[in-house]
Point group: C2
Chain length 287, copies 2
Amino acid sequence: MYYIGFDIGASSIKAVLARDRQIIKSGVRDLPGDLENLLLALIKMHTELIAGLGHEEIGGVGFGLAGAMDLERKIMLNSPNIKYLNGQPVKELLEGRFRGHRLKIEHDAHCFLLAEKEAGLAKNMKNVFYLTLGSGIGGAFMINGQIVAGSHGAAGEAGHMIMDMEKYTGWEELGANKFIKNILGVGSAEAEQRRRGGDKKAEAAFTHLGKNLGVGIANIINIFDPEAIIINGGISATAGMLWPGIEEGVDKFVVSPAAKKTQILLSELGQFGGALGAAILVEKQGL
Amino acid sequence: MYYIGFDIGASSIKAVLARDRQIIKSGVRDLPGDLENLLLALIKMHTELIAGLGHEEIGGVGFGLAGAMDLERKIMLNSPNIKYLNGQPVKELLEGRFRGHRLKIEHDAHCFLLAEKEAGLAKNMKNVFYLTLGSGIGGAFMINGQIVAGSHGAAGEAGHMIMDMEKYTGWEELGANKFIKNILGVGSAEAEQRRRGGDKKAEAAFTHLGKNLGVGIANIINIFDPEAIIINGGISATAGMLWPGIEEGVDKFVVSPAAKKTQILLSELGQFGGALGAAILVEKQGL
């Protein structure tokens, strides 16, 4: 049986066809600017992925979405990075387009962590905090081997932790691509190219970003004391540059000497980790 | 059977004699300035509490301690607010003084939450974040009805969450009695008296404290999405004053509209909640 997984993030849609927790085929598209084109893009990607397969070979379709959802009614309550989803009855809309398929919808970071737990670094771990670092910062965590949804389905929003009491700035404004864009005025790919080209301002921006990441990671370790923090997302490509700042933050700001030993790991699942998790989600659970 | 519980905090020692999760007798002392006097104070308080009881009626003695401990070896690794405990083999020291008693040692906030779970507001709850607001801010949490110790025994240190990226100030410098002391130069009791007397500067300090508390509580809700946050500690007395700031923070900074409904509750266990939890700890678990 094959499963389809979509990861609908702040800047792109990633999709996979998976079997036995392995990615068979994958695809990426830029995130469309409105709801109708998003739905059309999903259907197109789906059609490409299932080409050549019979309907009976598709076990279902899973969706990972960025934002705070009403997980019972599957209505998007607040998606700071995909604003046109706000207030939308996501499940109903998707069911309208994916008729005859079993669908499953979850928070995107939850899907990333599920993939990590089933097919990645968290396989034999119990307490893990997962961070997706891209345009913004998403989070999910597991305690005693169970991914925690929260009492209102909203757990893990570490990116919105306020870390500046002057301007009440959230962590994702300081520790993700938004920060680079604010300083350099360009996207992360261009910024990274400038940095490689020896641009001092770009280099300073990434160094500062690493420090800001380190402080937020220290906050998470102080609160959760996980065995590992696993990082994924667009920023991973620049991880080498960010590492000294992350290590400095943990060393300076984690209170417990024992908790300073928390492993900080880069996911090995790559950019399709979230989509793989969405596929695993539908494989693991019935509708 | 009776159980003794001690709560050794940043400014005082609280102790109770408990039976069936109820406080029978209690006592308070200021925290002594050195280790030897701390141990002497504990023995004196213990002697007062067990007066008239036979040794066979005492089921054990529990201790709640502020700071990051090596929970296996029971060595205090880092107690920012009781510095003379740092590096001390706490269990060994206590065993030397409390010979013939079953002893149990835990993080103080863990004890507070345990009391809440066994005899307080968290009795029928699953996901709770507990905050002790006094000189500093301590924390503990439970997920699915289980108090989480963390992978290195250091979970819950929300007070050390950095919330100011200029001076790298931790939450407890902004949202606890330390903050009042920094602004007004006096302790919280004197500050509270000034405020009641109509002192505008004192009033502004408490209002600001409430706002800072609200932002940190919003951070915790964004990350954990608990069903309730329960607050205890010396600051509870001024809770009425702090409430508007707390509500404002939650309203402004919690991302998920569903999670804004998280209950924020004042503990009904009062100042001996931590000591009661320490007594319950030893009642629940063998040595």
